[in-house]
Amino acid sequence: MTASGIPINNRPNLPRSPVAAALLRSVARTPLNVLLATVALLWLIPTLGLFLTSLLSPVEISQGGWWRVLSQPALLTVENYKDILANEAITSALTTTLWVSVGGTAATLLLAAFTAYAFAWLEFPGRDWLFLCVVALLVVPVQMTLIPLFSLYNNVGLFDTVLGLILFHTAFGLPFSIFLLRNFFLGIPKDLFEAGRIDGGSTLQLFWRIALPLGRPALASLAIFEFLWNWNDFLIALTFGRDTQVVTVAIFSQLRQYGSNIELIAPASFLSLALPLVVFFAFQRSFASGLLAGSVD
């Protein structure tokens, strides 16, 4: 932000006052500001369109586009939201999604923390090979597992259950979570564990008292990441549920008769993205750092 301001300040006959300088700089950058403001609008408008559509009555939706409410705000109504909150299929889908997301996240974090700690600080035969195996599993496409697990789920009664979905998400969250947490745990100074050991701490106590509290930042961003990943899932819930529907699947089954029931699809879609957005805006820092840890060294 200061970088290209330098040439301006070098010119001798320009005003010295910081306000005037800032004003000049912003005028010089007007085209850039306009361009980026346009891009930002392009990124906002589609979601805004869904939101405003969800606030139109079914009759108004059939009469024209959502942008009419910009000139006629009186068209806005929360009727659709009242309707879908009274709609059993949607409310139970939202509850199911919440259970699956919370359960999957908690289980992934717990199992991954134990495993990552063992990979980072405990010695056992085949440790490095096992870890390599985990890294290899990072790339397995979900599609490779759908068919055998579909049969397995049907045989053991996990098909169409919340538990089945939680277990699936847990297993698929593990490779990334183990990878991330192990790297984080490795960064904890060795002296801390040595001191704990001398004080007579058992392995479990060292894990519980030192590694977990110190790993809180990594665990937090991982929790957000896993929660969103589980909440936003579509493919897994579509394959392994029939009556146990998460919200994306519930919307999908409405989408098949599209056009007639947009007054249901729009508010349901907006509800399904509202929670991720709240989580995202509340924890954006952890979110971004988790993403960075996952993709770049």
Binding site: R29, L32, N33, L36, V39, W43, P46, L50, G65, W67, F114, T115, Y117, A118, F119, W121, L122, E123, F124, L130, A136, L137, L138, V139, V140, P141, Q143, M144, T145, L146, P148, L149, F150, L167, T170, A171, F172, P175, N183, K190, F193, R197, F207, N232, L235, T248, I251, F252, Y258, S269, L273, P276, L277, F281, Q284, A288, L292, S295, V296, D297
Partner: protein, 444 residues
């Protein structure tokens, strides 16, 4: 590295040494076992099973060798999916990485860069499925419902406004449609003649308010006169005759052409529908109502139709993932050595030169990471296709992951072929495994 085993050995007394080392193995195993069990059942066993299953037929009873793989590359359904996926791979990762780079460089120069990145990154929090629903709304065909076509319609309306006679047709066979558009009198005219151009089927909403009755104009010895009118009145009326109660159509563009089609003169009608071409030399002429009066309003581009569906989905997908590229590249940009960039600028390098010769090479590892991540994402693209493509064009929008799902669970129920498709997907993402391994070894 401090480890339980080493620690125990160091403190252990002679007598219970073997018991301790036994415990030293068991404790770590207890830490690892639950996750290992889950990974074994949910990932390793299914992968092996799917590979084996891909060599069996639909029922799973008969070994058919590479039969499924042959079908993979010969059936239309799957070849389309592979071709579409190739297009995705060729376009989307490069576009997303380029967008991310450009926006990352630009946001460094504005005061609200953080807010901008937040906005562009926001779709990353939304599920790909819901993003698909959002864009399906944007792509609606009718311009008064789909936002994208509404914008195009608004642009079109300023450049080429729709004619007010878009729906009109001739009232008699004396007026005919012309090959080039517009309506003309079938009979050619000479100076002194009067052209009667009657139209019907003009919707009431298009009839001008405060219009006046049409008038049959007088003939002009050295010119051609005429009238354009709504040849209809409540109760009917006789076609081809200007009667009381039939409205004149004002401000309609009328053309006079010679017999070779060369434009001689043009004019517009008065409020009573009359017009006159004065000072017309002798000869025979064709009088016509100009084509632009019949210009139909913009009817919307079929973004969700068979030919545009894949690009349309790609746009939605790019909208989602640009934020990812932007944030990762901006983070890389933030730790670049500023002195280097400044030195180049002081030496007179232009911004594009700085970008091309300094920023991009320095960012190469980050750009590669983003590109490879996108490559893998694009190979597995699924949700957004299923959400945007209506059932009727899903064959045209097909991609490998969707083809696998539809083959296994979408009615075909062919687990053998679907397994082969899944294996193809695995083989395609496998190179990224080696990249991961290399990164891991570098860190270890």
């Amino acid at each position: 590295m401090l480890s339980a085993a080493a620690g125990n050995v160091r403190t252990g007394a002679k007598g219970d040494r073997s018991r301790r080392s036994w415990r030293a193995h068991v404790v770590p195993l207890c830490f690892v076992a639950p996750a290992a069990l889950l990974l074994g059942i949910w990932l390793i066993y299914p992968v092996l099973y799917t590979v084996v299953r891909s060599f069996f037929d639909r029922s799973g009873e008969h070994w058919i060798g590479v039969g499924n793989y042959v079908e993979l590359f010969t059936s239309d359904f799957l070849v389309t999916a592979i071709k579409n996926n190739a297009l995705w791979v060729a376009v989307v990762p490069a576009v997303v990485t380029a967008f991310g780079l450009i926006l990352a460089v630009l946001t460094e120069r504005i005061s609200w860069g953080t807010a901008f990145r937040l906005v562009v990154f926001m779709p990353m929090a939304i599920s790909l499925f819901t993003a698909g629903v959002i864009w399906r709304l944007v792509y609606e065909k009718e311009p008064d419902r789909g936002a994208l076509n509404a914008v195009i319609a608004a642009g079109q309306e300023t450049l080429r406004p729709a004619g007010k006679l878009a729906e009109a047709v001739p009232s008699t066979s004396a007026v005919r449609e012309q090959p080039a558009g517009g309506l003309a009198l079938a009979k050619s005219l000479s100076p002194g003649d009067v052209a009667l151009l009657g139209l019907t089927q003009i919707p009431t909403s298009e009839v001008p308010k405060g219009g006046v009755d049409a008038v049959r104009p007088r003939s002009l010895s050295s010119g051609v006169t005429g009238v354009v009118w709504r040849d209809f009145r409540p109760g009917g009326g006789a076609p081809g005759r200007v009667e009381r109660g039939e409205l004149g159509l004002g401000t309609v563009a009328v053309e006079l052409r010679d017999e070779r089609g060369q434009m001689i003169s043009e004019t517009t009608t008065e409020i009573d529908g009359t017009f006159a071409f004065e000072q017309v030399p002798r000869g025979s002429y064709v009088v016509s109502i100009a084509a632009q009066n019949f210009e139909r309003p913009f009817e919307g581009i079929a973004w969700l139709g068979a030919s545009l569906i894949t690009p349309a989905i790609m746009i939605a997908y790019t909208w989602v993932w640009t934020g990812f590229a932007l944030v990762v590249i901006a983070a890389g940009l933030a730790v670049l050595p500023r002195e280097l960039l400044e030195a180049a600028r002081l030496d007179g390098a232009s911004e594009s030169q700085v970008l091309r010769h300094i920023t991009v090479p320095l960012l190469a590892p980050v750009l590669t990471a983003v590109f490879v991540t996108m490559l893998i994402n694009v190979l597995k693209v699924f949700d957004v296709v299923l959400a945007i493509a209506p059932g009727s064009v899903q064959d045209d929008a097909n991609v490998i992951a969707l083809a696998m799902w539809r083959t296994a669970f979408g009615g075909k129920n062919d687990f053998g072929l679907a397994s082969a498709i899944a294996v193809l997907l695995l083989v395609l993402v496998l190179p990224s495994l080696f990249l991961n391994m290399r990164r891991f070894r570098r860190q270890a």
